[in-house]
């Protein structure tokens, strides 16, 4: 018997006859004889999980997830939903992409290696830095890896890792876990109106700082104007200048290499993934000087025996499976398939599409902020400066009940203060934005 009629796993294609022959070949009476588990630790209970048909399982998952409300999400703060071209799903779901493993045998993995090489190339173009790895888990873990890199490459001693006081809690907490095994301590520097307060930062930085982290745009959606000056401060104190961003922002905003960044981290899943409850794709790019200290996998070009160009995982002596406790990172499984989705989405947009998407992020955010600002009881944006995708609005009424009322009308926004809401335009249609403004008018007065 095969398939769904079999008792047991429907994905283990043994007939009774075959199983008998196999047992005979290995000299065992039953499959259970092959298990060498002392009776003291044998499990004779049950998990209590009922098997279901495929149709029943689909129905179950659909019914559970069906308890989620359908809302228009005007949410951002590090995780963005953009429209994803059909091309991305159809190509990325080809089973060779989905069902292969890490490319330890490059001769049969050229397709995936080339995709990852092209993904690395995309990040090199976007950041202006010489090298990029082919993924970390997400922006937060990439930031953590940047800190351990800083500890390894900085010539002088030092302990302080400086981050903005508006850094996302998830990023800060993850960073603290990554440096828990080192002498590094994470400290905050002040921001003003959603961007770095340069004067206050200058007071805070000293020679004990090994890494200075800034983001562009900031978590409040504000475009940073002092990137070069921040870099100068880092350089003056021999600290690694780490910049957080994402591929859409990098398509338009100042090139990290031009403002002195040593490392760029961030979430690249802004292209290619829907709002998947925070599932990400950590981007990591840096200078060639730090090549041998980079965490994660690298794909390099080489030649095969016919002298044609071929790709392979390279510099693996940095990695855990070779270097063990002296590895640059413990990462093994990464986010290769998400990198594939990002690469296809970026290729689908092309350079004009990417730049235009970023420009639209600026104009639509500014336009929505203006429309909200026109409402009674709302001031938007409350931060000075320019915005990409999102901004913070002040509401005269308490913010939480307004957000709750908006949710009842089908819209999700962030509550970021007693009287502050944050709103993001990515992936939201113009028609939905019109409806949102109308709903906001109702609830804010």
């Amino acid at each position: 018997m095969h398939g769904s009629d079999a008792i047991g796993s429907p994905y283990a294609p043994h007939t009774d006859e075959e199983r008998s022959k196999m047992l005979e070949a290995v000299g065992a009476e039953t499959t259970e004889d092959l298990f060498d588990i002392p009776s003291a630790v044998q499990f004779d209970g049950e998990f209590g999980i009922d098997a279901r048909s495929e149709r029943e399982t689909r129905r179950l998952v659909r019914s559970i997830l069906g308890r989620n409300d359908t809302l228009t999400e005007l949410l951002g703060r590090g995780h963005y939903g953009y429209y994803i071209p059909s091309l991305v799903d159809h190509l990325a779901d080809r089973s060779e992409f989905l069902t292969s493993y890490t490319q330890y045998q490059p001769e049969v993995s050229q397709g995936f290696l080339q995709v990852l090489f092209e993904y690395q190339s995309l990040l090199v173009e976007l950041t202006g830095l010489e090298i990029a790895n082919c993924s970390m888990y997400d922006a937060a873990t990439a930031l953590g890896e940047a800190a351990t890199l800083a500890e390894r490459v900085r010539g002088t001693s030092g302990h302080r890792v400086l981050v903005p006081d508006i850094l996302l809690e998830g990023r800060r907490s993850t960073l603290e876990n990554y440096v828990a095994g080192t002498d590094l301590v994470v400290e905050e520097y002040p921001t003003a109106a959603g961007t770095v307060d340069l004067d206050a930062l200058e007071e805070t930085v000293d020679d004990d700082v090994v890494m200075l982290y800034a983001e562009n745009p900031t978590v409040r959606g504000t475009i940073e104007e002092g990137l070069e000056a921040i870099g100068d401060l880092a350089t003056a104190h021999e600290a690694l200048y780490v910049l957080g961003s994402d591929p859409i922002a990098l398509s338009l905003l100042q090139r990290p290499a031009d403002v002195g960044a040593d490392v760029v981290v961030g979430d690249a899943s802004v292209l290619g993934l829907p709002t998947s409850y925070g599932m990400g794709l950590g981007l990591f790019a840096t200078r060639e000087d730090y090549l041998r200290q980079v965490p994660g996998r690298l794909v390099g070009a080489s030649e095969d025996a016919t002298d044609r160009r071929a790709y392979t995982l390279t510099l693996q002596t940095r990695e855990q499976h070779i270097r063990r406790e002296r590895a640059t990172s413990n990462i093994c499984t990464n986010q290769a398939w998400v990198a594939l989705r990002t690469a296809i989405h970026a290729a689908s947009l092309g350079p004009h599409g990417m730049v235009n998407l970023a420009k639209r992020g600026v104009t639509r955010a500014e336009s929505l902020a203006q429309r909200l600002d026109d409402l009674v009881g709302v001031t938007a944006p409350i931060d000075d400066g320019r915005h990409l995708r999102e901004f913070v609005a002040h509401v005269d009424q308490p913010a939480a009940p307004i957000a709750s009322d908006l949710e009842k009308r089908g819209f999700a926004v962030h509550v970021v203060g007693d009287h502050q809401l944050q709103v993001c335009v990515s992936g939201v249609s113009d028609a939905k934005i019109d409806q949102f403004v109308a709903a906001f008018r109702e609830v804010a007065r």
């Binding site: 796993s9 043994h14 022959k21 196999m22 070949a25 290995v26 065992a28 092959l34 298990f35 588990i37 998990f47 999980i49 279901r52 495929e54 399982t57 997830l65 989620n68 703060r77 995780h79 939903g81 799903d89 159809h90 080809r94 989905l98 069902t99 493993y101 490059p106 001769e107 049969v108 397709g111 995936f112 090199v124 173009e125 976007l126 888990y137 997400d138 937060a140 990023r171 993850t174 080192t182 475009i223 338009l252 031009d258 390099g300 070009a301 080489s302 030649e303 095969d304 044609r308 160009r309 855990q320 063990r324 406790e325 590895a327 990464n334 398939w337 092309g350 990417m354 420009k359 949710e407």
Partner: protein, 494 residues
């Protein structure tokens, strides 16, 4: 030799296999950048909504039509060997067939919610997380589970951080050593080091298991934890596990279970019952969720109740109160280590995992494990290479003897199968670490064995020049590392 230079000898008694090979302008498939590069000027662009000093000058990337892209990526996909292409007995990596319906459930629009949505509006997501935590707890014999770690190594890191937090909480912060068997996965060592621990490496005994005398010597009041996988990487069950657990607990250490080999035990033994305090689950191995060419995976972590207060935040629990339908909420454990991922890990992978477990149930999971073990034993019985350590479970390590295991692997590619993991664990010379998993039929195992045996009879000249049926021929890995070219920008001068 055929017209295209491919070796016909691999056809005897075998499925003929030629991997796709496109050649255009001397390249197998040109890079997108070799097809087009278009520069967009931004700095002097009147349409820019931003002043020049806030923008980059230009952006240069390929700009191709959708049909051109569809062909590019389709061709690339054809130049990849996946589990849907054929057997993939990559030891310790557990390459199983991935049921297709799990992709469909993970693609449900209701699965894609923003992580900052309110608890009230995401009851479906929270319920599925709660149920999966519950499933995993039962399967591992653990009291509490977090789903947050985005991979197995990230799960290990949670385990190490939880152990550190637990010891610190008990005034035992001086414990600075983690003991790891020499044959363990490299991630164990790297994770312990990342957590700030000194690694104490533990040799194996003559039978390939933990050497109890060496363990006794390694244990001390400085021991924070012992990291162990069971069955170990030789596929051998650590029969002395109860004694090992007692020894570790007697000095106040914790026992960590590396879940990479859990698929050998489903329904027959549980880490919690063996005395493990903390474990991670490799859902992309044990529960047949796709590896995606190297991720995303997910590495949920289970702990005994004493360690639950230290798990990452937030976790999911059932809300109290008299609602007719159960409701769920997020909460922070009392002494949480904080977060190890910006949000809640690789959520879509967890949806696939839940669907897989719910589909198989008790009987299916136990059956998968039984047939994985049967398949490994059967395959080992059919190959000519020596298998020095037994009785193994779901995987075994053969020795290529006088042959170079890496060359053996390259030659196996010509027979249309993926080779085993090679040269690891180092206990076995020229190791061929093989794990067929439960998804292969007897016919496929026979074909795999024939490939092993054909290669076993071949001379060094044949092995050293293999493969030739694959897209690329043998690749020069040394020059790739010596003069790294890591992007198309690095190729421009050539």
């Amino acid at each position: 030799m055929t017209d295209d230079g491919r070796d016909e000898s691999a056809d005897a008694g075998q499925v003929r296999y030629d991997q796709a090979r496109y050649v255009e302008n001397g390249q197998y498939e040109p890079l997108l950048a070799e097809k087009d590069l278009t520069r967009v000027e931004i700095g002097d662009d009147d349409d820019s909504p931003l002043p020049d000093d806030l923008t980059r000058d230009s952006l240069e990337l390929p700009e191709l039509s959708e049909p051109e892209l569809a062909r590019h990526y389709t061709r690339l996909s054809q130049m990849i060997y996946g589990i849907d292409s054929g057997p993939y007995p990559l030891g310790s990596c557990t390459m199983k067939y991935n049921p297709k319906f799990t992709e469909d459930v993970a693609a449900l629009p209701s699965a894609a919610v923003h992580p900052d949505r309110s608890e009230r509006s995401t009851q479906g997501t929270l319920e599925l997380m709660y149920r999966l935590q519950d499933y995993l707890g039962r399967i591992g014999g653990m009291d509490a589970v977090t789903l947050q770690p985005p991979a197995g190594a990230a799960g290990e890191f949670v385990g190490i951080r939880v152990a550190a937090a637990y010891h610190e909480h008990n005034g035992e912060g001086h414990r600075d050593e983690v003991i790891i068997p020499e044959s363990a996965h490299g991630t164990n060592f790297a994770t312990a080091a990342l957590g700030g621990y000194d690694v104490v490496s533990l040799p194996s005994d003559d039978e390939g298991r933990v050497d109890l005398e060496a363990l006794e010597a390694a244990l001390s009041e400085n021991t924070a934890a012992l990291m162990l996988t069971n069955p170990n990487t030789l596929g051998l069950f650590e029969r002395d596990i109860t004694e090992i657990a007692e020894m570790v607990h007697d000095v106040g250490g914790l026992l960590y279970y590396d879940g990479a080999n859990l698929n050998a035990l489903l329904g027959r033994a549980r880490p919690g019952d063996m005395g493990f305090d903390v474990m991670h689950y490799n859902v992309h191995k044990t529960f047949a969720t796709p590896h995606g060419g190297g991720g995303p995976g997910a590495g949920p972590v289970g702990v005994v109740s004493e360690l639950a207060p230290f798990l990452p935040s937030p976790r999911v629990r059932e809300s109290e109160g008299g609602a007719s339908e159960p409701t769920y909420e997020l909460f922070d454990p009392d002494h949480t280590i904080g977060k190890v991922h910006g949000f809640q890990g690789n959520w879509l992978v967890l949806v696939k995992t839940f669907a897989y477990i719910a589909r198989l149930g008790d009987a299916g999971l136990a059956d998968a494990s039984a047939k994985a073990v049967l398949n490994a034993n059967y395959l080992a019985s059919q190959i000519e290479y020596d298998v020095p350590y037994e009785p193994f479970h779901h995987e075994f390590v053969a020795s290529a003897g006088e042959q170079d295991a890496a060359d053996v692997a390259k030659r196996m590619l010509d027979f249309g199968v993926h080779p085993p993991t090679t040269k690891w664990p180092e206990i076995v010379p020229e190791a061929l670490m093989t794990e067929p998993t439960e998804v292969e039929s007897k016919a496929t195992l026979d074909r795999l064995a024939a490939a092993f045996n054909a290669v076993a009879d071949e001379d060094d000249d044949t092995l050293e020049t293999a493969p030739d049926r694959t897209t690329a021929r043998r690749i020069d890995q040394t020059s790739a590392a010596r003069s790294p070219r890591l992007s198309w920008h690095a190729l421009e001068d050539e």
